[in-house]
Symmetry: C2
Subunit: 114 residues, 2 copies
DNA sequence: CGGAATCCTCTTCGATACTG
DNA sequence: CAGTATCGAAGAGGATTCCG
């Protein structure tokens, strides 16, 4: 789902920490379990995914629902507030589509100057 | 111009590094000198302001023009590419106006839960 | 005036292993 | 399955001092 090779680290705009935006996009299609998030968000360790989810929960962006079953099951879901982040995310994606390559070219020109 | 007491560090959306957005907003009204940027952007040290400006210059967001005078004078100006950042910045400001306080309330409720 | 140099702290992120 | 515990690396950001 997310290409680890994409130069997203160069993006000048960030939503929350490194993984928050990916979590939010993943949760847009409905509630997801912990392990269902780990798959598309490649490269995230359980510890960091937990950190990210806790921070999002603290800010009221997601809800966490634990089911007392064996095996345990936990679902994360976007809240109304979490969905409000989609407008700025969309604006940032539009910016990236229009200007990201120009920025990378400017950067390369700068680095290759003498 | 920018209140250091404002909880901007809690903002889930960031443009570039900690100070880039403020620099861009300051430069919107026209070219500014190094020391003219240091005043409104309270709390930034020369080193970090230099870092920020270099990074923005590298990415083609600002131009740096040094005048060989005594005393020296350096002016920074937004490029066309730098101005494109205004759309996402505006979207983020709109988000903050609408939802920032709700996020802070959710956070406080989370922290005060038993 | 507009930085550069140095040193330092704090946070973020990750690897690995283990558990209720 | 859904985490937690521990350790460690790395980078951002800051304080202070010095320079052309």
């Amino acid at each position: 789902m997310f290409d680890p090779a994409c130069p997203s680290s160069a993006m000048p705009i960030r939503i929350g920490d490194k993984w928050s935006a990916q979590v939010i996009v993943c949760l847009d299609e409905g509630p997801r379990r912990f392990s269902e998030l780990q798959v598309p968000i490649r490269g995230v360790t359980p510890k960091v995914l937990t950190q990210t989810l806790r921070a999002l929960e603290r800010d009221g962006m997601v809800t966490r629902t634990a089911y007392a079953e064996i095996p345990p099951r936990v679902e994360y879901e976007l809240t109304e507030l979490g969905r409000t982040l989609f407008a700025p995310i969309a604006a940032c994606r539009a910016w990236a589509a229009d200007n990201f390559s120009a920025m990378l070219e400017a950067r390369e020109a700068y680095d290759n100057r003498d």
